[in-house]
Amino acid sequence: MPFDASTKVADETLLVLYANGDADAARELTLRLTPRIMGHAYRILGNQAEAEDVAQEAMLRLWRVARDWRQGEAQVTTWLYRVVANLCTDRLRRSRSVALDEIPEPEDGASGPVDGMQEQARSSALQGALNRLPERQRQAVVLRHIEELGNPEIAAIMGVSVEAVESLVARGKRALTADLQGRREDLGYTDD
């Protein structure tokens, strides 16, 4: 069964269809979920190649668990984010530091050359500051402010209380603000 952009089939339903042999469901899940989890892994690891590996590994685990998936217990995205978080933690433990110059430049968007460079510089500045945060704060800030998830879902992903998420996000944002202070003008931000 083909799924076009207008098809609003739930992730869980697609997973059941995949488990029953529907290859189109796998393609749809891949297109729908991979950009999200890869983007998240990139923000946590600061490295695109590693983020791709993590995304592939997380999706492979999803395919393997499809037949045993317990419907109605957890959202597919919540489960995937948790897997990605664990995989990132493992990688960060193996190599504790990521040098800033190893961070790949983000892909160019539709903006002009100057705007594009400035956006890349801002994005790299934020990524550098994120890399300097403690891992749990980084994860909470990325899930809240870049993935734009709600605190209860973040709590489920990170296995902590909603209050703990709020605290991690607040501390993370304070540290980011301090880190990026003084760079706003260099990066082309204005206060108007």
Binding site: A23, T30, P35, M38, Q56, E107, H145
Partner: protein
């Protein structure tokens, strides 16, 4: 008291830019992931498949599930109707049904049974 204009969090702009500049998966990566999906699917072909869970969640549905489902309920209904019929049916019908089951010789014994020849109920006999 003077109302101050709400200040935007300066980090919001960074976050918005980051969302715009998140690297996208390459077509190579997407192809590898779909390939993984297909090979995982093939390796588990023939195993028990499962369906979307559409089990009714109501109290009656739950009771029905605990009893064993519709087949059990059908058996239970038949037994109940049969019991009701036995209870309401006329005695003649019951006798006829009983005689149908019993042997003819047993019926003769029952008729020829004489209480006096086996038991002495007279006063002082015991």
């Amino acid at each position: 008291m003077t109302d101050k204009p709400t200040q935007t969090d300066p980090l919001d702009q960074y976050f918005a830019d980051a969302r715009q500049n998140t690297p996208q998966p390459s077509t190579d990566l997407l192809a590898r992931i779909v390939e993984d999906a297909v090979s995982t699917q093939k390796s588990s072909e023939g195993e028990l498949r499962y369906t979307v869970d559409d089990t009714p969640r109501g109290v009656l549905a739950s009771l029905l599930r605990q009893l064993g489902g519709w087949p059990t309920l059908a058996g239970l209904s038949t037994a109940s109707v049969a019991g009701l019929w036995l209870g309401l049916s006329a005695p003649e019908l019951l006798v006829a049904a009983t005689q149908g089951v019993m042997q003819a010789d047993e019926a003769v014994y029952a008729i020829e049974f004489e209480v006096e020849s086996y038991f002495d109920f007279s006063e002082g006999a015991l």
